[in-house]
Symmetry: C2
Subunit: 197 residues, 2 copies
DNA sequence: GCCTAGAAGCAACAAAATCGCATTAAGGTG
DNA sequence: CACCTTAATGCGATTTTGTTGCTTCTAGGC
């Protein structure tokens, strides 16, 4: 998943990978992302720089790997008894995490060192999974549910667009408004469109 | 706007800036973005590397400046006689330009070397301006119009999100669908919300 | 308990970024 | 229009980073 070939995942390689990732996390906290250099990470990790250059290519790809790990959701969305409540809570938390300074930094890093889009795809997959969990619960309850793609377009996309492209603040009220507009639309114009794979 | 302090914009500074930007455009076409280096750009531009390092900081910020210039729309959206037609045409063209390989590259570059979000903000401002032109015309015709923010959330954001985070293809039908859903919503749930400045 | 091949270490090398100092030229001033 | 101030560039020395060939080590398969 993370480094280039990902052959031979056990033993020493795994130790090196973990050691390097840990070094990145520590050093980002200590000296800041901007002061980070590959030799610095290598020293902290007890590894030679050439190992990092060979496995990750450059600092950006390494940071991208670390960022994606941190963007992985740790728990499933809470079950609050209804689709609307679940979506509200999830969207609020999602916005809060992503719009926070560290969240913004991780998003940028994840996109940055990602030549083939693998890591970016992983980020969107995380959000899609979380939404799927919420939708599956609603289906089990017998509620009518909108399509996952609609929710991504109406909730996730606006949040991420504003984080990346627009300077202004984002608050929980905005998240709730997006949810309102998204679930309102489910019977009007949701339809069988844009399957995206 | 582009370089750091932007004091003393006339004369030599302006010539250097234009020369460096031109060198970047030429070399990207010739050797590709990945092979580009600051010393290479400096040589082509007839400038010393330290000049580039001092004015732009690093290659990414320079590429970001060049990318934003290229993302500036060259013409106003076409006037086709109705809001719906204008939006359809604009969204199709916007998607086509942004989702094309060079468009994707410019977007990435613009976001990449942009510590303070200035260039990203400029990109979203371009889209907002284009939308404003379309809306102003519709108002002049007496058509009911949705809010600009709603169109950004419903049309621009999904397109950009998919370009950045999702691997799949994007086609004109998707753009039209987004427009349909956006204009449908204008009387239902558009309301006085999320002003964002 | 051997092989084998992928991964890491090491060191010399090449290329890049940084920095102090000298020089140039914009833009303002009298 | 000559002069002055100061931002911006040029230049070169120095430091740091990135690359490469080769050796050594070890995980995984026999």
């Amino acid at each position: 998943m993370s480094p280039r070939p990902m052959a031979r995942p056990g033993g020493r390689s795994a130790r090196v990978q973990e050691s390097v990732h840990a070094a990145v996390r520590e050093l980002v906290a200590e000296v800041g992302r901007d002061a980070l250099t590959v030799p610095m990470v290598a020293t902290r990790a007890g590894v030679t720089p050439s190992t990092i250059y060979r496995r990750w290519g450059d600092l950006q790809e390494l940071l991208s790997d670390v960022a994606v790990e941190r963007l992985r959701p740790e728990t499933d969305p809470a079950d609050l008894g209804s689709l609307r409540a679940d979506l509200d809570a999830w969207a609020e938390q999602f916005l809060e995490e992503m719009a926070s300074p560290p969240g913004r930094a991780y998003i940028r890093d994840a996109l940055l060192g990602d030549p083939d889009g693998t890591n970016a795809g992983q980020c969107s997959a995380y959000a899609a999974q979380q939404i799927d969990v919420v939708l599956a619960r609603a289906v089990r309850r017998g509620e009518p549910v909108p399509e996952r793609e609609l929710l991504i377009d109406r909730i996730v996309a606006p949040i991420m667009y504003r984080i990346l492209f627009r300077p202004g603040r984002l608050d929980a009220a905005y998240a709730r408004e997006l949810v309102t507009n998204a679930v309102c639309a489910q019977q009007t114009a949701a339809g069988a469109r844009h399957p995206q794979r």
